[in-house]
């Protein structure tokens, strides 16, 4: 059910309920009937109070959380892949070439330096080594990560620095769909401005962005549309 040629993500009737077996099987319904679509070149913001399920929804689109009902169609080249029904290999392939994700928490891999972390992300996306490295270095510089930190593993960085590594990792590749979960949360004014610029740049390049932003100012500057997720509260 493709709406237009520019639709990149189509969410239809998606529902999610957590069953906590450790609490005697208590069911925690989160979302139901979530439907919306996102087009190339636009930034759609997921709105709503804390705990309503915005992060959860983003994770479902990324294939990190399971989907209990409905479908999430993602454009992959000339065809569509339903994340709800995709095999693990399909999801991994999507993540490599289509879906990018800037998470709230940086899962650090021991021993790999910050520059390498970002470079790997670019290489996974298909860039060849030298270009990947150059792009990674550029992003780190623009996010004001001092060069002396580039060889160090981010595990020892401050929260804000880690967040900037996360952002660099998400933006260094050229995924057609980019999911952003509170990308500016621990950042100061300057770095926030840098991220806003990245987002604008990607929009101009035709990327479809879906984001969660707490900062009203940032939201205003990047959002093309807002979707109130509390409409879909289960």
């Amino acid at each position: 059910m493709v709406a237009t040629d520019t639709t990149m993500v189509q969410v239809t009737g998606v529902a999610k309920t957590f069953v906590m077996h450790l609490r005697g099987g208590a069911a925690l319904p989160v979302l139901r009937g979530v439907s919306f679509e996102v087009h190339a070149g636009e930034c759609v913001v997921l709105d709503g109070p804390s705990g309503v399920g915005k992060s959860c929804l983003l994770k479902m689109i990324f294939g990190n959380y399971r989907i209990d009902a409905g479908s999430i169609l993602v454009r992959e080249g000339q065809q569509w892949t339903d994340v709800a029904r995709a095999s693990p290999r399909d999801v991994l392939r999507l993540r490599q070439s289509v879906l990018g994700y800037v998470s709230q928490f940086l899962r650090t891999i021991p021993r790999v330096g910050a520059l390498d972390v970002v470079t790997h992300s670019a290489r996974d996306n298909g860039l060849e080594a030298a270009t990947a490295r150059a792009r990674a270095a550029d992003l780190l510089a623009r996010l004001a990560i001092p060069e002396r930190l580039w060889q160090l593993p981010p595990a020892t960085f401050s929260g804000g620095e880690q967040q900037r590594i996360n952002i660099a990792r998400g933006f260094v590749a050229t995924h057609p769909v980019l999911l952003l979960d509170e990308p500016t949360a621990s950042l100061d004014q300057t770095n926030r401005a840098a991220v806003i610029e990245f987002i604008r740049h990607r929009k101009r390049a035709g990327t479809a962005l879906i984001g969660i932003f707490h900062d009203e100012d940032v939201k205003r500057q990047v959002a093309d549309r807002s979707i109130d997720i509390s409409r879909f509260r289960a």
Partner: protein, 260 residues
């Protein structure tokens, strides 16, 4: 993911019974080149039995395993002649043991250990064998100066890396690992895991890794198989199974993991 071709390894209905006792029951899985599959579970879950079956160290009571050979032909592993199987084990496959003493010849030098597979497949030039051994020692971050030293003089982490070099020298396409980080210090584990990630990425290795450590599974694997009492409880994308576990046992396992 490198795909396009069929699966590298396909297991169907693998079952191992010891009389009435279940080693593992009805396990089916598929593995493609460049994929890392982690098999997790507690002691007695059957994960080591499954690994032994997949690596044809044990014969299944029921079930089949098919493998795509280097020439592209898919063969039933238990229908292979013993000689063919051993050749496979020595060239196209690798096996990294938890205890390095099982995977190394402790009385043979590091260089001799790494060169053994090459000599087994007919390499007859000492200089070239030694050169290749030195190359791989360097790649697993073992100082080349240690090439003539015995593994008994190596630390635990070094022995594991030597095991890896020993296996990798014939460019295997499939590597089995049995708790490779068991008993190692955390920093040593980190180094080993990082090495493995690099090798998987650089050589499009397919890996089946048995571990009780969820952090290792999360770091290395694309997909996960959770086992309990010989059965597969849950399977899927690693981050999905660990972040959104569905089965009660999986939820228990994930919640019990100290590092989260």
């Amino acid at each position: 993911m490198s795909g396009g071709e069929g699966a590298l390894l396909t297991a169907a209905g693998l079952t191992k019974l010891y009389g009435a006792r279940i080693g593992c029951m009805d396990v089916s899985l598929e593995l493609h080149a460049g994929e890392v599959l982690a098999v997790v579970g507690e002691s007695g879950s059957g994960k080591s039995t499954l690994l032994a079956l997949l690596a044809t160290q044990l014969r299944p009571t029921r079930g089949r395993i098919r493998y795509r050979m280097r020439d592209g032909v898919v063969r039933d592993l238990f229908a292979l002649a013993e000689a063919e199987r051993r050749f496979l084990l020595r060239t196209d496959w690798g096996f990294v043991h938890q205890d390095a003493r099982l995977g190394l010849r402790m009385g043979v030098s590091a260089g001799g250990n790494v060169g053994e597979r090459l000599m087994a497949v007919g390499w007859r030039n000492y200089g070239r064998i030694r050169g290749e051994a030195l190359d791989w020692l360097t790649r697993v971050e073992i100082d080349g100066e240690r090439i003539d030293d015995l593994p008994t003089t190596f630390s635990g982490g070094m022995r594991q890396r030597l095991q890896i070099a020993k296996n990798m020298v014939t460019a295997p396409r499939l590597v089995f690992m049995d708790e490779p980080t068991g008993g190692l210090d955390v920093s040593v584990q980190a180094r080993l895991l990082d090495l493995m990630r690099g090798l998987v990425a650089d050589h499009a290795l397919a890996v089946v890794i048995v571990t009780h450590d969820l952090a290792v599974a999360r770091l290395l694997s694309h997909r996960l198989l959770v086992m309990r009492h010989g059965r597969v409880i849950e399977t899927g994308l690693t981050d999905q199974v660990l972040d959104d576990p569905r089965e009660p046992y999986t939820q228990l396992l994930v919640s019990a993991d100290l590092r989260g």
